[in-house]
Subunit: 212 residues, 2 copies
């Protein structure tokens, strides 16, 4: 299928290559497509402007940096996002002042909510932001795939579409629907803990399994 990925950083590139390798027609979007001229996404992958990328995708993934997501999506254009599933996997982390990063949106708001407010007709689903790109694209490499992926969003159909796609694309098996897009607050504020988990385990190839 045609997939548009907003972003040109490490997450966007690895995700794009993984989807292209599975036969999808992937376009990566960036302000300066020339930056991606050496990106080895494979024969079925290309780079374009954010506007071209959003228009290209049947589904659009926001894999831009958290601090640049809103401007990248503005450049993508509201019309191209209307009625489309927009998977937001970005985290509003500011690394500019060193480690640990600070959150630029938190506590009473989230990036997911901000994007949904700005693009009210996009079907925003927050997902994948709680795992590293290695885990996103190969969940079975962690505990045999037995761990939890959180999703939230206002549209039940869009959430069902996203979980179905993630199952098909990468073999994700265990989803936990946390409700409407305001749950993005919790999913994003989990990042400071996640960074400490990475530090304690010495690898970002980790996740949590919710148990009861």
């Amino acid at each position: 299928m045609k997939i548009g990925i907003i972003g040109s950083g490490g997450v966007a590139k690895v995700l794009g290559a993984a989807l292209a390798a599975r036969g999808h027609d992937v376009k990566l979007g960036t302000r300066e497509p020339a930056k991606l001229s050496e990106w080895a996404g494979g024969a079925r992958a290309s780079a374009g402007t954010n506007a071209e990328t959003a228009a290209h995708g049947e589904v659009v993934l926001n894999a831009a940096a958290g601090t640049g997501s809103l401007s990248a999506l503005e450049a993508a254009g509201e019309e191209s996002l209307d009625g489309k599933v927009l998977v937001d996997l970005a985290n509003p982390l500011d690394f500019s002042k060193g480690m640990p990063p600070t959150m630029t949106i938190h506590n009473t708001d989230s990036l997911g909510e901000t994007i949904q407010r700005r693009f009210p007709r996009a079907l925003v689903v927050k997902a994948l932001n709680t795992v590293s790109v290695e885990v996103m694209t190969a969940p079975a490499a962690v505990n045999g795939g037995d761990h939890t992926l959180f999703v939230c969003g206002n549209d039940a159909g869009a959430k069902a579409r996203v979980t179905s796609l993630l199952r098909e694309w990468f073999g994700w098996e265990h989803f936990l629907d946390l409700g409407d897009i305001s749950a993005a607050r919790g999913m994003e504020m989990y990042l400071p803990l996640w960074l400490r988990l990475w530090g304690a385990l010495g690898t970002p190839r980790l996740n949590v399994k919710v148990v009861r």
Copy 2:
């Protein structure tokens, strides 16, 4: 052993009763000990002022509300906390404006760090704040005990003491040391996610298991 619990809310009471039932000499501390006159903590449990409670405990647990923790510990008194293990299980959540609560300390600081700064000679260990009191006192009731308890703090010996006590008191088996007290930031900012997990699962009898 003699255990001092700062706090008179639900968490403090259940925790105190559970420890008293295991034969410990428990004192609950509050500004108004009369409020606890009907608390059925058992024969080995008593109530007192915060100062009496801190002096009583070989180990002190802060189970006060997050927003009241610092003033309760001020009342407990610096001398009584000097050199003592102080387990901070509070979360800086403000419920006064309705649900969801907002965090009063977050992002660039945490309650755990605030307490450690204010009482530099106390051995502050952040622990138990990521689970409900039902899970704190009976971890085996969730997934047979196979889930993760996060701990952090600046003193390795204090952390070892706390994990040893939690193993002995309640049967906790799986600890993950996240490093120094600044990891309290991540452990506290996990709470908005935890509240959504509770909502999604319909019970606070839950936890996460970190897997890799």
